[in-house]
């Protein structure tokens, strides 16, 4: 029973990673850049929900909506101001800009909200489900997290495969030049990608902060790195890969914490990553690209 408890909480953690990893993987697939500031958008989402709930006393659904809207707008603004002028630049310049944006958000948050850790309020629910006569206790939050993740995955897959914008996104991921010749507005498509990724980051923020209720300006960096790892683990650019990578990473992390060592969990998670990449160099579900001479 304890194993099942750890497994389920691992799946919940993995679901959060998967939702964040989606933002990385979509942006990478379409704009071919590593958006290092993604983790800090999570932090902004957390603060947005916190202030909406605690300071302005808005009801939970409004808070969630507010966080999503703020993050979406922020994501689009960052893309327009910082990344768009660098479309033709080398990938390292874009990477450094993303790092700059990340520092900016972290330190901006520190100035605005203070560097002290704030306690995130109970926004969603704090009840739990008892099964097998109280032997297996699963909090509703865990269930909500896993359900949200699955819902987002299904929704996003449908969006990408069935809608016109989704088609444009796939075309951009394949070949930007050709897509442009077919009349696709690349700038709009990339902006929409950033908007979706950032909106998802807000959802991840609320789930993450509800599970680990402490809020600080550096909140997003570690989940950001882990989710980035998850995205690569599953094969960067692939949406099912992000889900698989996120879930696996969460489960591995939780089980090593429970059965091997809390302090060593990071080392073990990253060792597994290296081993997987050695066996499958493009991640679990990544496509292998053949280089033509």
């Amino acid at each position: 029973m304890t194993f099942l408890t750890y497994l389920i909480s691992g799946l919940a953690l993995g679901s959060v990673y998967a939702i964040i990893a989606l933002g990385y993987t979509m942006v990478y697939g379409i704009a071919k850049m590593l958006n290092f500031a993604h983790g800090d958008i999570i932090m902004v989402g957390g603060y947005a929900a916190f202030f909406a709930f605690s300071k302005f006393g808005m009801p939970a659904p409004v808070c969630i909506l507010a966080a999503i809207i703020i993050c979406t707008i922020l994501g689009v603004i960052i893309e327009r101001l910082a990344y768009k002028p660098l479309r033709q630049a080398s990938s390292l310049s874009v990477l450094i800009t993303a790092i700059g944006v990340s520092y900016f958000l972290q330190n901006g948050a520190q100035l605005l909200f203070g560097s002290d850790t704030k306690i995130f309020p109970v926004m969603l629910t704090d009840g739990s489900l008892k099964l097998f006569g109280g032997q297996l206790v699963i909090s509703y939050l865990t269930l909500i997290t896993i359900a949200t993740c699955l819902l987002i995955m299904v929704g996003l897959t449908l969006f990408i495969n069935k809608t016109k914008i989704g088609k444009a996104m796939r075309a951009c991921a394949e070949d930007k030049g050709a897509a442009q010749l077919m009349g696709i507005n690349i700038d709009t498509t990339i902006s929409i990608t950033f908007a979706i990724g950032s909106g998802l980051a807000a959802i991840a923020a609320i789930l993450l902060c509800s599970t680990y209720p402490s809020l600080s300006p550096t909140l997003g960096s570690m989940p950001g790195i882990k989710a980035f790892t998850a995205a690569v683990f599953g094969g960067i650019g692939s949406i099912p890969g992000a889900l698989l990578g996120g879930l696996l990473l969460g489960v591995i992390e939780n089980l090593t914490k429970a059965y091997i060592s809390t302090q060593l969990s990071d080392a073990i998670v990253f060792t597994v990553l290296i081993v997987v990449l050695l066996i499958k160099p493009t991640g679990l579900l990544g496509k292998k690209e053949n280089v033509k001479v």
Partner: protein, 353 residues
């Protein structure tokens, strides 16, 4: 004599000579300044770390600039060098009393151990490329930090004592060298500015010798076009391993010098942010540009310290500087402007001639 001079300043060697001159002049200038005027404590405390970061940035430039591979875990090598040096220095402290000799031995130890880890990590480096390689180096940095966080190491009358994850050491009259998350405590501070400058000079010599050699040319050929290089018989694995191992050893040496400059040092110092910081120095200085790397490291390392009076705003300003410089250097309009100005200046010179 004239022959040597012309040889030093001919087109091929000019960059190399210039690098050495910059370093030696900077050293002379700073030495004169510190001995003639009363300089602030902050200034003298920044000298050794600046040297360390210059060596670190130069070594990373070898991988990112010359070998063309993105590495996000360079702080890992620095950490290995740092904590190896602390242990070696602590162990030989009672045997070798001379500080300079002890410093040299510790730095060499850090350099060698870090190089061995560089060899280990170069196995996945050869199999992967691009962003997958970047994530492996990131993972490597995290693993190293996490492992050092769990090592407890010390010695007493019964010899060396070691424990992992949980501290079970009970030393009788001994000394802890590494104590897990607390890192190294009570280290003898034996680094000095002169050692830092000598390390920079050695690094410059190593890097220039490598670049100008046959191996250096194959490293750059493999970067520019892997397939073309392979087809004319370049052994890609060998060249990339070589670049990685040399880079790792130099980073280890830098870490060793860094660690011996402080009495306490925590493993958390060498996290992802440190790796990123060094990468920023390299990209700012220009990929494959050695003098640029040295200057950008000095400026960017000292800038936040100079902005200290602005307190909370300093990192914000730093972030804005990063973003703006990247926008400006990549803007087509600015490039055009620079070209126009430089062509005008050039024309004027021609007229004068």
């Amino acid at each position: 004599m004239k022959n040597i001079l012309t040889n030093l300043f001919n087109k091929k060697n000019r960059g190399r000579t210039l690098s050495f001159i910059i370093v030696i002049l900077a050293y002379a200038g700073i030495e004169i300044l510190t001995h003639s005027v009363r300089v602030s404590r902050l200034f003298t405390s920044l000298l050794v770390p600046t040297c360390c970061y210059i060596v670190l940035a130069l070594s990373l430039n070898l991988v990112v600039g010359f070998s063309g591979e993105l590495s996000l875990g360079h702080a890992g090598f620095m950490a290995i060098g740092a904590f190896t040096a602390v242990c070696v220095s602590g162990l030989i402290g009672s045997v070798i009393v001379n500080d300079i000799l002890r410093l040299i031995i510790s730095i060499i130890a850090g350099c060698v151990v870090s190089g061995i880890f560089g060899l280990i990590i170069s196995v996945p480096v050869l199999k992967l490329s691009g962003d997958y390689l970047a994530i492996v180096t990131l993972a490597f940095g995290q693993i190293i930090k996490s492992l050092i966080n769990n090592i407890f190491f010390g010695y007493d009358a019964n010899g060396l004592q070691f424990s992992f994850v949980n501290n079970s050491l009970e030393l009788q009259n001994g000394k802890m060298l590494l104590s897990g998350p607390m890192g190294a405590t009570d280290t003898a501070k034996i680094s000095n500015f002169t050692a830092g400058i000598i390390l920079i000079l050695i690094t410059l010599y190593v890097i220039y010798s490598l670049i100008d050699s046959k191996y250096g040319r194959t490293i750059m050929a493999a970067r520019d076009n892997r397939i073309a290089a392979e087809s004319i018989g370049v052994n890609i694995s060998k060249t990339k391993t070589l670049a990685f191992v040399i880079s790792a050893s130099l980073a280890g040496a830098a870490g060793a010098l860094y660690a011996l400059n402080y009495s306490t040092l925590q493993p958390s110092k060498f996290d992802f942010n440190t790796s990123i910081l060094v990468l920023v120095y390299v990209v700012f200085g220009g990929l494959g540009n050695i003098n640029g790397t040295m200057i950008s490291t000095t400026v960017l390392y000292i800038l936040p310290e100079l902005l200290r009076s602005l307190r909370d705003y300093r990192m914000l300003i730093y972030a804005v500087v990063l973003i703006v410089v990247m926008q400006v250097t990549n803007s087509a309009r600015v490039r055009e402007l620079v070209n126009r100005i430089s062509s005008k200046v050039f024309k004027k010179r021609e007229v004068r001639l």
